[in-house]
């Protein structure tokens, strides 16, 4: 039952890095801007 005293900091990344995420986020951002044209 005992678990280690883990303290987790957000955001958490799984199967990706902050850099890779930023690129995908930029793609989302471009789509958003295009939808406003």
């Amino acid at each position: 039952e005992k678990t280690n005293n883990v303290s987790i900091e957000f955001p958490l990344f799984f199967n990706t890095s902050e850099e890779e995420f930023s690129k995908a986020k930029e793609a989302r951002y471009r789509l958003r801007v295009e939808s406003l044209d």
Partner: protein, 155 residues
């Protein structure tokens, strides 16, 4: 007590999302026999610029196992950023855990999609130390500007 529930929640999240990308065929082992799962509908070929991702509801460990096996490739490729995680005790004698997360996910070459996800974990009968997922619901949140029409500029 509360600290332990939070720790259990955090450890669960790590196990769940890491197993998703490393070995989707073992994800279904985390669910109870009668678990219900509302997850991404990989059968629909949704487009990148869709404002939201369609979901499908699956009931029972066996069907959940088939779901993850059938969509193995897409599930392995899932990339997730978790922004927040709220945790409470739940269930019989409050020995279970409920988790609400928010975040964004994507696949290789796709833009990001915002989502929230809730899990209910319950103790397994003959094993007080183990927890099974009994509920798992993901819901995608549309991006704001798609729903708000900007006024044309005067220039």
């Amino acid at each position: 007590m509360t600290a332990t529930v939070v720790e259990i929640g955090h450890l669960f999240l790590k196990t769940y999302y890491e197993r998703m990308s490393k070995d989707p065929s073992k994800v279904s082992a985390l669910y109870s026999n009668t678990a219900e799962l509302t997850h991404i509908n990989y059968q629909l070929d949704f487009k990148e610029d869709l404002i939201t991702v369609p979901t499908v509801k699956i009931t029972g460990k066996e069907n959940i196992s088939k779901f993850f096996t059938r969509n193995n490739k897409k599930v392995c490729d899932l990339k997730v950023k978790i922004d927040s995680c709220d945790i409470q005790s739940t269930g019989v004698s409050r020995s279970g855990v409920i988790i609400l997360t928010t975040g964004e996910l994507f696949w290789t070459g796709t833009p990001t999609y915002r989502f929230c996800q809730t899990f209910v974990l319950e103790r397994i009968e003959n094993n007080a130390n183990a927890l099974d997922i009994v509920n798992d619901i993901i819901r995608f949140i549309p991006e704001p500007s798609y729903e708000y029409q900007i006024q044309p500029s005067n220039s």
